[in-house]
Symmetry: C3
Subunit: 142 residues, 3 copies
Amino acid sequence: MALATPPQERLRAEIEQFYARHMQLLDSGDAEGWARTFTEDGTFALPGRPGPSRGRAELAEGARRAFAGHTAAGETHRHWHGMLDISARDDGTVHVRCYALVVLTPRGGDPRLHRSCVCEDVLVTVGSEWQVRTRCVTRDGA
Amino acid sequence: MALATPPQERLRAEIEQFYARHMQLLDSGDAEGWARTFTEDGTFALPGRPGPSRGRAELAEGARRAFAGHTAAGETHRHWHGMLDISARDDGTVHVRCYALVVLTPRGGDPRLHRSCVCEDVLVTVGSEWQVRTRCVTRDGA
Amino acid sequence: MALATPPQERLRAEIEQFYARHMQLLDSGDAEGWARTFTEDGTFALPGRPGPSRGRAELAEGARRAFAGHTAAGETHRHWHGMLDISARDDGTVHVRCYALVVLTPRGGDPRLHRSCVCEDVLVTVGSEWQVRTRCVTRDGA
């Protein structure tokens, strides 16, 4: 975990780079690579689920299943994070509240907005890498 | 007002953080909090209006009314700013020309693009905070 | 070409500023200005074309024709880049893999997603400016 917080411009650059790779891993179907961007005991709470996914094996399994479903349906999903409100805490964690869009393109068709969400993450550094410790997503319209 | 311009990486990080909080205040219905991210005499010109809104009371009133309307209609609105062309001027102001999307999600429905706009802001620092002095929005398709 | 890579926060700020201006030039119909944000021999490969566009004259011609078509059809197109995965290479080039959306608004109508793409660029500095040396775009759903 970070002991000293980097200046905000460095922090924002690192977080944006982190999310870019994180989402590109997810959207390209690299479920294990994506799961490794969470801490070992990372959690991911989605609406409509009884409880959060916990730990990389479970996170990867969920991502793998979702990607297989999209592939079978001929859909490409792209996750966009934006409007990142980033706050560094004294304990070295970084809290992010941001908006998230999922853009869905069916094979041979036009893209459309599939989901508009709010994503609240607690991020920590492990060695030189950022990882998600907890994620809580709420879905607009639910 | 800023007397010295920070390096561009700091400036961009500050402006992006500013917009993230600014829009999250608006979209969460904190009309007064949002109005305080304008200068005391801040203006906001929207298409189809006789003149710009001016000052925090009027800005807050407009935001409150809009939010009440969305709530009554069961809609969630999310404002996204992107493609920020940021230029610092010698007088300490910062001019931003960027794109803006409004994503609308009806209760129980799928999100859709509600507006695509161009937003031109003049930002100034008051104490350690960025504030909008003037905003001019034009709507695509108008 | 850059001999030393700037720190990541500076690099990201420069690249984001570059893309903002680059896309605003394209969307506002400044085909020549846009073409000058490529290197002299810059290439742009789009799906469904026999080969890439090459060089500023050809790039400008393509942009001019596209803009004229949109104008004739009463359409406004806005290009959004997001989720920028930026990596600086030892040879001074910068590779970016990012998502791209085209938002289309017909005159008098509502905006919609026209394209969702993945954009892979190789960027270089020429003097103090970033330029695109190669661009390869793939379209979701194709």
